[in-house]
Subunit: 314 residues, 2 copies
């Protein structure tokens, strides 16, 4: 029992979308498969730490999808189920997988999402705020009183329609994860080194810029870390890869008990979180949707971490 | 004298274009500046090894440009000067520097280039064949009788108009350096891992795929090495960066006395050649044309090599 308490006390809270996706890639298609940022982040993080989600689904949400999350020991107390349909997204990828076209986005019950953090989550120390309205991200953060880190991601939409709110939100984040075009947009700088300096000055002392197949970079005021992308033999479906990167990154930080608010950061260990993020993003691409997570083991994850060591050593 | 003989005996022969370029980037423009693949490769390689060039220029070629090459101890016996104008290229870069438009290509004396390898080069052990007609590359290679390695680069043009000749040529190369789109075109594979396997089966046992700002990858049958690109604060002019990568790569191999035809390859040391290539490519971008090489020192090169160590360590 003491052990269970400790585990809960060290849990990672993840907020974001839980959705159904219709996906078409050159390798095939799925009409309706579990997706959403919160789903991918929580599944990926669950290999490293106890994870608890805050999200909303409709009454069409399948028991078997809840069961997949539960099988990874994801705490579902914050998964609200309401009347209506679950968020639905459909998209089709180009031949080379570097582009995708959104065919449909039905927000459904997600349109009125007002995240409610269960009392049992209130003292959890780690928080990852998936991409939703910045004001909602801020509200959620206020409900957690014992944080050792909080961070998240965002998207160009909020930069276009809610920039002041977004700046107010990320000011209180310990880290921000975005992709390169978002970093350019947020900072107004084309050059990523200059962009990173500006963003760090906005609040988050750790900035991770994701570059898809080209890898990722971690910036802090006084350090830079870069890693190339894992080279897959076949990219089956890139949906969710960026979210899985986030899940691996933040899951490892939680597993290692990082307190990003202390002055004591082991920067090299922080770099390893970027590698675990890259590992989780790469596994995500190997099958449709979340399917790879049905079989993936921690041993495979650590093997790929070691591969990263080998193929970047000089 | 014994030392001079040894130096010549260990020289690297570089073949390619020597040109004048007109370049416009968001940072400014130059109407006529020294350029050409052979120029960039030789300048970059000269920091690591004695370099000897085979190229042709017109009677308009300036003494001060010869003097720059001579100042780096580049052997100019193979620089043929003929009546007519030197190869001229002009191009303009997009705002983000990721695209460039060729405005003009005047082959001039380069159109009838028949490379003549001076007798004094015949026993030099290292050969880099810059991008020219594959048949000419093959002719040059035959004229060197004592090779410890030969390799080079090529371009999509030859894949379009001279594929059989190109395949016949690279069959006898120890390494090939190309960019990712060329690798896809040469192999007919979109996935770079599969593309690399096919290309290695064509002959070159070492394949380097350059990805511009995203870095580079080195493939051998049983190993893979990847490095992200160096993150510059400001890319002033990317012209020649790929050639400088080649020069740093091959220069380091020559400096270390690599015999790529023996079974004994120190693969980790081979990876370092990719880092030195990346270092030289990054310095090239810091000023217009070849200008950075007027001041660049070996000490700066080694400092940036160490920076690569730091920003990729985990």
């Amino acid at each position: 029992m003491a052990n269970a308490v400790t585990m809960q006390a060290m849990s990672l809270v993840v907020i974001g979308s839980v959705a159904y996706d219709a996906i078409e890639t050159p390798h095939g298609k799925r009409e309706r498969t579990l997706g959403g940022s919160c789903t991918y982040i929580a599944l990926a993080a669950s290999y490293f730490t106890k994870t608890a989600i805050v999200a909303v689904v409709g009454d069409d949400f399948a028991e078997e999808d809840k069961a997949l999350l539960a099988s990874k020991d994801v705490d579902l107390q914050g998964l609200e189920q309401v009347t209506g349909k679950t968020f639905f997204w459909s998209g089709v990828y180009s031949e080379d997988m570097n582009d995708r076209k959104t065919l449909r986005t039905d927000l459904n019950v997600f349109a009125d999402f007002q995240p409610k953090v269960p009392a049992s989550y209130a003292s959890m120390p780690y928080l990852f705020l998936g991409n939703i309205q910045p004001a909602l991200q801020r509200d959620v953060q206020k409900q957690l009183t014992n944080l050792r880190f909080a961070g998240g991601d965002t998207m160009n939409l909020w930069m276009n329609i809610a920039m002041p709110e977004l700046l107010e939100t990320i000011k209180n984040w310990d880290f921000l994860l975005i992709n390169d075009s978002e970093a350019r947009m947020l900072s107004g700088e084309t050059n990523l080194k200059k962009a990173a300096q500006k963003i760090i000055a906005m609040g988050p002392r750790t900035l991770v810029i994701k570059r898809g197949e080209y890898g990722a970079m971690l910036f802090r005021e006084d350090s830079l870390f870069m890693v190339p992308g894992y080279l897959l033999e076949s990219v089956f479906d890139p949906t969710g890869a960026g979210d899985c990167f986030a899940g691996g990154f933040v899951g490892y930080l939680a597993e290692r008990g990082f307190d990003l608010r202390s002055g004591q950061i082991d920067v090299t260990d922080l770099h390893r979180a970027v590698i675990y993020g890259s590992v989780m993003g790469s596994y995500c691409c190997e099958e449709f949707g979340v399917e790879r997570f049905r079989s993936l083991t921690r041993q495979e994850i650590d093997q790929r971490f070691d591969e990263f060591k080998r193929f970047t050593a000089f």
